[in-house]
Symmetry: C2
Subunit: 223 residues, 2 copies
C-alpha cells in the first residue's frame, strides 16, 4: 500500500492530509475521510488505510492545520470551525478538489465519510452540491455550521447514530429528516439502541467524557 | 412446500392462520407473520411462503377472525383491536403458542415480524415478554394499543420506517426510542428517505389513500 502525507492550502491555512491507496496505477473510486473534533490523528490514518485495503483510494482531510491537540484545544478548534461562516465547507472542498486530481482516483466515483464533526463535514459537502455519490456519517452531530449551504444534494446520505448519543437529541434527528425530505434526497438514518456517541472510536472510553463514552452493551436478548 | 390453513381459538373468537414450511421433517427457526390492518389476505400468504422458501417455518396469524374486508371494515377492526385492553396481545400470543408446538418448529428460535398494524402486534408480543429472538416491523405504526404491556423485552427489535410516512410523526419515533432505551433493549430504527407508509405492499398505490400510498422515488443522486 502506498501512503502519503499531502500538504495543501485553503486560503491562508496550510493543511496536512493523509492519502492511502493499495493500487496506485489503477483508476478507482475514492473516499474522503473527515476526522472527529479531535483533529487528524493515528486513529483516522488507520481508518484511511483500512479503506485502502478494501480497494478504495482514501484521503483523510485536515480541518485544522494542527494535530496533537489537547481536549480543550480540540473543543476550541471545533467551535471555531462551526462558527466561522463557510469555513467548514471551504476546507472540505479544498481537500475534495485535491483528491479528485490524484492519480488512481476516478473523479466520477467520489464519496465522503466522516466521524462526529467529520459527519457534519461530509454533509456540508453534500449540501454545497459536491459531486459525491454518497455522504456517510458515523455518530454525526446534526447541528449545522454557520453559513451552511442549501444547494441541491446529489449525494445519497446515510447517518448512523447511537440511540443514547447525548449529542443528538430527537429534535435534531427530526430536523435532519425534514431537511432531507424537503430536498428530496435519497437518504437513510439508522439509530442503534444501547449505543452512545463515538462508537467507532476505541479511545472513547478512555477519554471518559459523557459525550464520547460508549454505553455498556444491553443485557437484553437471547440472540 | 407444505402449506396449511390452521384454525385456532382465542377466547370466544375463531381465528384462521396460514402456515408454510419447506422442510416439515426438519427442526428449524420459525417466524410469526402479523398482517396489516387489512387483515389476512393473499398478500400476507405470499409473504409467508417467501419466508418458507428461505428455510423458515412461517405462520401468518389472524387478528380478526374474518377476511375479505372493505377498507372501512378494516378500519373498524383495527380500531377495535387497538382499543380493547389486551386484545392484541391475547390474539398474538394464541398464535405464537400454536406455532411453538407445530412439528418442524424449534420453539427456542422464534421471531415475530409484522407490517403496519402487524408491526405493533410483533412489538406487543415483545413487550409482553414473549420468548422471541427478534421482533421486526416494516412500516410500523408506533402508537401503543390499550393495555399495552411493559414486561422486560427479550427480543431484539428492529423497526423500518418511511421518512415520509404520515402515520409516524417524529414524536412517535422519539417516544419509541425512549421506551426502548429505558428498557435497555437491543434495538435499531431505520428511516428510509423518500418513502411513504406501506412500502412493502405493492397494492398500496392502487388503494390511493394518503396513509398507504408510496411516494415517487426521489430524483436526486448520481448513484
Amino acid at each position: 500500500m502506498e501512503t502519503r502525507t499531502l500538504i495543501y492550502d485553503c486560503e491562508e491555512t496550510r493543511l496536512t492530509g493523509y492519502f492511502a491507496d493499495s493500487a496506485p496505477h489503477t483508476q478507482k473510486p475514492a473516499i474522503l475521510v473527515a476526522h472527529e473534533a479531535f483533529g487528524m490523528n493515528d486513529h483516522i490514518r488507520a481508518r484511511t488505510r483500512r479503506l485502502a485495503e478494501l480497494g478504495y483510494a482514501a484521503f483523510a482531510l485536515d480541518m485544522y492545520g494542527v494535530e496533537g491537540l489537547s481536549l480543550s484545544e480540540a473543543v476550541s478548534h471545533h467551535i471555531a470551525l462551526m462558527s466561522a461562516p463557510g469555513l467548514m465547507h471551504a476546507r472540505a472542498s479544498a481537500a475534495l478538489r485535491l483528491l479528485m486530481t490524484l492519480p488512481g482516483v476516478d473523479p466520477k466515483r467520489m464519496a465522503a465519510i466522516g466521524f462526529c464533526q467529520g459527519a457534519i463535514t461530509a454533509l456540508e459537502l453534500a449540501r454545497g452540491g459536491a459531486p459525491l455519490r454518497c455522504a456517510v456519517g458515523f455518530h454525526p452531530g446534526l447541528k449545522r455550521p454557520a453559513g451552511s449551504l442549501d444547494q441541491p444534494i446529489e449525494a445519497k446520505v446515510l447517518m448512523m447514530i447511537g440511540g443514547q448519543d447525548p449529542d443528538v437529541p430527537a429534535e435534531d434527528r427530526a430536523a435532519f429528516a425534514a431537511e432531507m425530505e424537503g430536498k428530496r434526497v435519497d437518504w437513510q438514518l439508522h439509530l442503534f439502541g444501547g449505543v452512545g456517541h463515538a462508537y467507532t472510536n476505541p479511545d472513547s472510553d478512555r477519554l471518559d467524557i459523557p459525550a464520547t463514552a460508549t454505553i455498556p452493551p444491553p443485557t437484553s436478548g437471547r440472540g
